[in-house]
């Protein structure tokens, strides 16, 4: 039986066109949601919500929310294709910047609260510990993407160059998963869940690119 699904699905039709003001509001909702994990940490720290080892909690939580934000960022285009909600693409930049925001917090937590700005120690760690090496690579690659996520630089680069640069996000996703696997947490399932989600998102993109030709 040939299964043929045509995207966008018609059930999503009612939400296809939003006014600029509505998109703006959706953007603020996304940003507000994105700040909830940070708010929880800031409020919870003095209240003892973060447990016996709050620094470990913050390191892990910022890492988790970096990868979750990355999943959200990479889901936007497939979601647009499924729903036909073209306006979703206008949330992508916010999602990407939230990803960078948590990556920066995660990195600062490490540099400050784990290594106390000991540069020699940090360099040694980046070289010696593979999970830090790939995490660091992912973070470094995120920097140019964050810097070029504004209209002026998109214009300056040209859409094609910009797109080429931003394809780095796929490399970043792979590095993030490898980083997570190589932490060698004793519960090794979680990183593979992210790996599966990224694989699905990549497959969806490949499918649509193939179909477009």
């Amino acid at each position: 039986m040939a299964l043929s699904v045509t995207f966008p699905l018609t059930v999503f039709a009612p939400w296809r066109s939003l006014t600029n003001a509505q998109v703006q509001r959706a953007k603020w909702v996304l940003v507000a949601l994105g700040m909830l994990p940070l708010a929880r940490m800031l409020i919870g720290l003095p209240l003892g919500w973060l447990g016996v080892n709050p620094i470990e909690f913050v390191t892990r939580s910022t890492g988790t929310w970096t990868i979750v934000s990355l999943v959200v960022t990479l889901s936007i285009t497939p979601l647009r294709n499924i729903t036909g909600w073209v306006w979703l693409v206008r949330l992508r930049r916010s999602a990407g910047l939230i990803t960078f925001f948590y990556a920066a917090l995660h990195f600062i937590t490490y540099v400050w609260l784990d290594r106390f700005f000991d540069v020699n120690d940090i360099i040694k760690d980046i070289i010696k510990r593979p999970f830090i090496t790939v995490g660091f690579a992912a973070f470094v690659l995120l920097i140019p993407l964050a810097i070029t996520s504004n209209n002026a630089l998109i214009k300056k680069l040209g859409a094609q160059n910009w797109q080429r640069l931003h394809n780095l996000v796929y490399v970043i996703a792979i590095l993030a998963v490898v980083h997570f696997i190589w932490l060698a947490r004793r519960n090794p399932i979680e990183p593979y869940i992210y790996a599966a989600i990224f694989a699905l998102l990549f497959a969806a993109r490949i499918y649509w690119r193939f179909k477009a030709k």
């Binding site: 016996v52 080892n53 609260l113 106390f116 510990r129 519960n187």
Partner: protein
Amino acid sequence: MLIRRPDVILPSEITDASLFHGRRDWIRNASAMGLIAGLPVLSACSVEAQGMKLAGVKPNPQYVLPDEKINKAEDFKNYCNFYEFGTDKSEPPVLAKALKTRPWTITIEGEVNKPKVFDIDELYKLAPLEERVYRFRCVEAWSMVVPWVGFSLAELIKRVEPRGNAKYVEFVTLADKAIMPGLRSSVLDWPYVEGLRMDEAMHPLTLLTLGAYGEMLPNQNGAPVRMVVPWKYGFKSGKSIVKIRFVEKEPRTAWVKSGPSEYGFYSNVNPNVDHARWSQATERRLGEFGKRRSLMFNGYGEQVASMYAGMDLKKFI
């Protein structure tokens, strides 16, 4: 109301044992019903043996750490590596409630003249209970300062009379699939087995531990009886021990089987030898903001270094 006696008061003396267990069963059933109904239920902790005050415990002035701050009991109870109850440190405090610590026996066997099965309540009376404040350093580079209660393992060893060919002591801990969800995971080869060389086991610092913070051990911290070997990484200190075997060959411990290059048989705290995946030079003392330099033999070098004279500690990790 507790009536003070020179000896320790056992839970079985306070409450009739059958009543005690019956009440526990009632609580367990009630908790299960509460879970089903989604209602919060009073924690069963309060009637378990764990948390029961230990009477007649004398602080041993030889083992105090006047310059160190004792960690809060809350830190101790809520940050536990006890993989039988899950690999996340927050799991054992919840899941170990299912652990039944009475009745409990510890079998002493192997190369000894007087093998014996001890009832847990007998152990409390084997030797005077002492409180000893020790540093506790985990291989994961965090540490605590804990006031343990127990007595030197040597006290027990002397009574069972090891033979000349007993070169090592092996500790076998509880592996009960019915209550330990972690056993379904293949993280380690169960049961969790640890071991010490005979001289290490006989060392006065090596503590057969029955309590902490003046109380019986909380379940999640290895009730009813565990080891504490303060100059070694924490995982050497097996929890909820059911068997102590005296053997001729170095025991194949659970961690050695899982990764001999990462978790050696000796596993003495050593800031100069990094773990395969992280540095051991510093540690995070729970409750402190900064990190501390880790100490050779966790600060117990004066007492224990001589046991390793002539051994290359980079090789014998």
